[in-house]
Amino acid sequence: MNEAQSTAVAELPTIADFARTFRRIQAEIHKVIIGHEQAVEELLSALFAGGHVLIEGVPGTGKTTLVKTLGLALNLSFNRIQFTVDLMPADITGTRVILSSSEGRREFSFQPGPIFCHILLGDEINRATPKTQSALLEAMAELQVTVSGTTYPLVPPYFVMATLNPIEMEGTYPLPEAQLDRFLFKVRLGYPGEAELVRIIGSTTGPDGAGVEPVFEPHEAALRIEALKRLVREVIVAPPIEQYAARMVRATQPANSRVLGDLHAPIVVDEVNRYVSFGASPRGALALILGAKVGALLDGRANIAYDDIDKVAAAALDHRIMLNYAAHTDNIDAAQIVQQVVKAVRVSRA
């Protein structure tokens, strides 16, 4: 019985277990990461919802440190890929090399790349070419890697965190929409405040770094995380809440979009029609619901509330909205659009 099969029979934890484990991991991360409470919560939410995270932040805000700390706290295998312009797909996925066997025969053998792990950090993912970036697509969506016609499964839990530097645009390749859509959340890391900065200075310039204690034992980490992920899936969603999430996603789509099947939008947001080229895809609705489920469990509930959807809307929809030129000239970003959408959809609650 491999690790993946063993997770399938793990006992379902209780809602209290989930909240307790979540808060403990959070506390361990905050031993190293000062501030960024919301970013850490969204990161863990994406992990337990079974998604991947795109972390956007200016240099020096602790993106890489955050991911490393998460790996330590979860006690899962962790790899880091520094994306550069000359990085090739095989450098990520692995490749077949000729090896000599013990009998002296030479044969092709697959050497797994850094993608084969539990937690993968793709640092500055937008520095690689689109071809290399797309090497992550199959792994992120289907938890498998195909090399030379052979498919290799990835071991769950599998969690990709990619970082983006929003201010260094020279020599970068913007992520294609298809790949952006595969990230469950986009987490923004801003500059810390003065008080947080003082704490960061104090904790990182001393002789000893903060020691992160793993929350799980190495042999049970994957099993327990998968069990917690299954619990998230069991959270109950009432049809009105599903409808609310769908309406929110639909409201991000401009009325004049050529790709719309249903031209009659129940909720029309002026800002969307003015500034958005393409709205969120159906994956956006899934992200809303999954993120809201984690929020419900953290609140000790077995059901989703409207507020849970609103709470994750920014993280779930921000990177799925493609703005047009007018938005750039008017200095409008996707977060503002999402804010307007949430405000407009909120009035339609049952």
Partner: protein, 454 residues
């Protein structure tokens, strides 16, 4: 199995409480509809009463129609709103979630109650919701027993309560009898030169008696003829407005507690300060600019004081006159004057009231003269008791409707009291001079009747 049963009982209790919330909210919605509708109607009725007491007939009619329309539209709107906001079980659960801060628990339990396959967390959800049952008790979700719409109803009742006495207070001067100082209550002395004569509604009952010498009466007949001609020239719209005015007037009287069927008769002594040969009705009399007609609310005679006296009618007001009543043709008036052998008392002399007191009252079966005494050609009114008065009396009376009102424009000036005159001839009658009636033998009555029926 007992565990499952307990879970079902808890679920049933949760659903029962949601039903309770729904019933309570629907009850409040029905209350709102009833209270709002009553408030609108009571407010409209109160304001209508007030308008009836303080406004003229046409203004009152417009206000009453407006108020009734507002009330009707308000009731319709309230009905639509209440229908749209009627509480379904899902809505009751959502309201319970919001007010009890249950974060979608009730909505989820209600929505997924009938789902055959439940999540492993379903039992937790039911238990969790059941544990908070006190938070979503109907009395906590909807603590009010009385809808807020009760306050508008109270306000409307208060408004109506104030409006009715205010209306009585405002209408008191109108209901007051004719000003004392003329010739006692309901006795008016008017100069024929100041009279603006307009035809009255034939359906109205007489409530005024006019006393005058024959010459003055002839002038009155001339004026009547002029008014009749002017009335014939009026447009249909004017007649329609008159009808509306009459309707509004009657309605106003009802609201003000006046009994139009039993009006207090007004006795008017008609004088002529400028005696001269009676002038035949001329076109100038019928001209709208002649000032011979006024706006006395459809009454038969209205005082049109000269020299810009209060109550003078604006030019063109003649077109708004009511349908024609009757008037004496000039030749009949001349005949009347020639038959009158007795000297007429001087205008304003002391004999006039005495003579008026000797006259039979309107409606008296023994009354002589006038259209309600068998004169005319109506077969139904041919016969009656004989007139006790000798023919050729120096005065006779005709019934008019007169309603004194204060329309003075200048402070301190004498109150203008427009008489309302009407001659109750029906459509089959024509103006006639007053003739004494003799008793007709019963054997001849059928023959005479047949003759008139031809």
């Amino acid at each position: 199995m007992p565990e499952t049963r307990r879970d079902e009982q808890k679920l049933w209790l949760i659903l029962f409480q949601i039903k309770g919330v729904r019933s309570r909210l629907n009850f409040l919605a029905i209350q709102r509809w009833i209270f709002a509708a009553l408030a609108l109607l009571i407010g409209a009725v109160g304001l209508t009463f007030f308008a009836a007491a303080t406004s003229g007939p046409l203004t009152f009619l417009a206000i009453a129609i407006f108020l009734m329309l507002v009330a009707l539209l308000g009731v319709i709107r309230e009905t639509i709103v209440v229908r749209a906001t009627r509480i379904t079980p899902a809505r009751a659960a959502a309201i319970g979630d919001t007010r009890a801060q249950l974060k979608g628990r009730l909505t989820t339990v209600l929505a997924l109650n009938a789902t055959p396959r439940h999540s492993p967390l379903w039992a937790y959800l039911v238990e969790d919701t059941y544990g908070r049952r006190e938070e979503f008790e109907p009395s906590r979700v909807a603590p009010r027993l009385l809808s807020r719409a009760f306050y508008p109803l109270l306000a409307a009742i208060l408004l109506a309560t104030l409006a009715v006495p205010a209306a009585r207070f405002a209408s008191a001067p109108r209901q007051r009898p004719a000003r004392p100082g003329l010739n006692g209550p309901n006795q008016i002395i008017a100069d024929i030169g100041n009279l603006d004569i307009r035809p009255a509604d034939p359906a109205l009952q007489p409530n005024a008696e006019i006393y005058a010498d024959p010459a003055t009466l002839k002038k009155l007949a001339d004026k009547l003829a002029a008014a009749e001609k002017a009335d014939r020239d009026r447009r249909p719209l004017s007649k329609l407005i008159d009808k509306a005015r009459n309707f509004a007037d009657a309605f106003q009287d009802k609201l003000n507690g006046l009994d139009p069927a039993r009006p207090r008769p007004t006795q008017m002594r008609l004088t002529d300060r400028n005696p001269g040969p009676p002038s035949p009705p001329s076109d100038s009399d019928n001209s709208p600019n002649s000032g011979s007609t006024g706006n006395s609310g459809g009454s038969g005679l209205a005082d049109n004081s000269h020299h810009g006296a209060p109550g003078s009618a604006p030019p063109g007001a003649a077109q708004n006159s009511p349908p024609p009543m009757t008037s004496l043709p000039p030749q009949q008036a001349d005949e009347l004057a020639s038959k009158d052998s007795s000297p007429a008392p001087a205008p304003g002399s002391d004999q006039a009231p005495a003579a008026a007191q000797n006259q039979p009252k309107a409606g008296d079966p023994n009354a002589g003269g006038g259209s309600n005494h068998g004169s005319g050609s109506d077969p139904a009114n041919l016969f009656g008791p004989a007139s006790p008065l000798p023919l050729g009396s120096d005065s006779f009376k005709i019934a008019i409707e007169a309603d004194p009102s204060d329309e003075s424009t200048a402070s301190g000036s004498p109150t203008y009291v427009p008489p309302r005159i009407r001659v109750p001839l029906n459509a089959n009658q024509y103006p006639d001079q007053p003739l004494a009636r003799a008793a007709v033998p019963a054997a001849d009555q059928n023959i005479i009747k047949r003759v008139f029926q031809r």
